[in-house]
Amino acid sequence: MSLLQVRDLYAGYGATQVLRGISLDVRAGEIVALLGANGAGKTTTLRALSGLISARGQMLFDGLDIGTIHPARRVALGLAHVPQGRGTFGDFTVEDNLALGAYTVASRRQIAIDMARWFEVFPKLGERRRQRAAWLSGGEQQMLAIARALMSRPRMLMCDEPSLGLAPSVTQEMFRVFERINLEYGTTLVIVEQNADLTLRLAQRAYVMETGEITLQGDSKELLVSPAIQQSYLGA
């Protein structure tokens, strides 16, 4: 059964309709890429799923219709969202950012254990735990945003353009972390990216969006060599 099942999803901002009836499935434990050009509706899809904007259509998460559930409670159900850009609280310390990530976790002990674990995975965050997030480098802030989302112990982690503005070596390090999280903890990943090459190598399946609709989907190894993808996204 799908962990996430989306059917005929419509969403937008005010009078502007961005999503025009998209449908997609994500199975538990899978890594799924969501590709497409700027303005295709990738970010809007994630914002609709986490409840930052209202949407019409069906969104089933683990069989529950999350469209009617308060956004704050979706986090407790296991849906985590790393928004585009600086997904951190800049004026808050690294530790406070992680504590906020665990806002839906009741047990203090569990929070302490999780925090220690992510400091091990992201050693630079541990060194700077009492510094304000705004003082970290771009890559460290993105790592912090991901660690913050993981603190809620999500079943599904959605990342919006995590490589945006990062050096290639930092991006690769981050993708290795994604792989590790998926393997060790079985966390399902949905990754929105413009960097199609790297993302398709990480993901098992991919959806391609254009102007608010899903135009292509399939196994990412096949998409990687498909002429349509080569032309539009890999610059071949």
Binding site: S50, G51, L52, A72, P83, G87, T88, L100
Partner: protein, 293 residues
């Protein structure tokens, strides 16, 4: 010299009250970027509630506790029912709404209890101490003590508790708070409730000094607005320091500047605030705010 110290001590006590109300204003501004001009009159209304409960025979401590709870509920309800629906409107609209709260609660007090002055029960004993020729009344020391306790407990709430972390996050960024699982509206309601309690404390400190009356807090609001501006609207420490500074400046200025006397003393805090803002537009402790256009 003795006279100067005496004026400073008296000024600090008056300033503590301005600081308490300024704290309430800054709490709300920090959470919702709204200046609540109705804060002082909501506080007066709650002080009247406490007085009424005493009149009906309730012991003063219990009456204060019950009124503090009512103040919390009232603040939260006002946010939810009156302020939240207009919170996305223009600044002018919101200012008119909170000024409306000022007028509404003043009118409500006048209607329910009339314009007569009432004697509020004394919270501190009448006596005091003379230390090196300076008179320290129990009332003045009590007021300063209450302000310290208030400021420290708020600081502890925001610094060390999960609720405080959530309140700070909700004030900082609505979207990011939502995606970590914070119910932002609930937090803002809590913030308004909390501010209402803090304002109530200020009113309870004023009432025994002046007599309880529907207009007793209006001048305090002017001073508290000046204190919050002086301290920079984004800083709780700024509100406390601003309030104390203004209290001292008023008291010392009125005594030592012969041309001011008692008629012009209301202008001292405003002059002080103006002078500071010319040098530091963001206030003493405020952060420069970037305005996104």
């Amino acid at each position: 010299m003795q006279l100067l110290i005496q004026q400073i001590v008296d000024g600090l006590a008056a300033g503590a009250i301005y600081a308490a109300l300024a704290l309430a204003l800054v709490l709300i501004f920090g959470a919702t970027r709204i200046v609540n001009f109705g804060q002082s009159e909501i506080a007066t209304f709650c002080a009247f509630l406490a007085w009424q409960l005493c009149e009906w025979g309730m012991p003063i401590a219990l009456a204060l506790a019950v009124s503090a709870i009512l103040a919390f509920v009232l603040g939260a309800a006002l946010f939810q029912l009156v302020v939240r629906p207009v919170s996305r409107a223009s600044v002018e609209t919101v200012v008119v709404v909170t000024l409306g709260l000022f007028l509404a609660f003043q009118a409500l007090c006048l209607w329910l209890w009339g314009a007569d002055q009432r004697t509020f029960p004394a919270l501190f004993p009448a006596g005091g101490w003379i230390v090196a020729g300076v008179r320290l009344t129990a009332y003045n020391m009590g007021v300063l003590g209450v302000l310290c306790a208030l400021a420290l407990s708020l600081a502890a709430l925001f610094r060390f508790t999960r609720l405080g972390l959530g309140l700070r996050a909700a004030a900082a960024d609505v979207d990011k708070s939502t995606i970590v699982g914070i119910r932002v509206d609930g937090m803002l309601m809590l913030g308004w409730g909390l501010a209402s309690v803090v304002g109530f404390v200020a009113a309870v400190l004023v009432a025994p000094r002046l007599f309880l009356s529907p207009i007793m807090m209006a001048p305090v609001l002017v001073y508290a607005l000046a204190a919050a501006t002086l301290g920079g609207w984004t800083s709780a420490i700024g509100a406390v320091v601003g309030g104390l500074l203004i209290g001292v400046a008023e008291s010392v200025g009125a005594t030592f500047l012969p041309f001011i006397g008692s008629e012009l003393r209301l202008l001292i805090p405003l002059a002080l605030t103006l002078a500071v803002l010319l040098l530091r537009p963001q206030g003493l402790f405020g952060q420069q705010m970037a305005v996104r256009v």
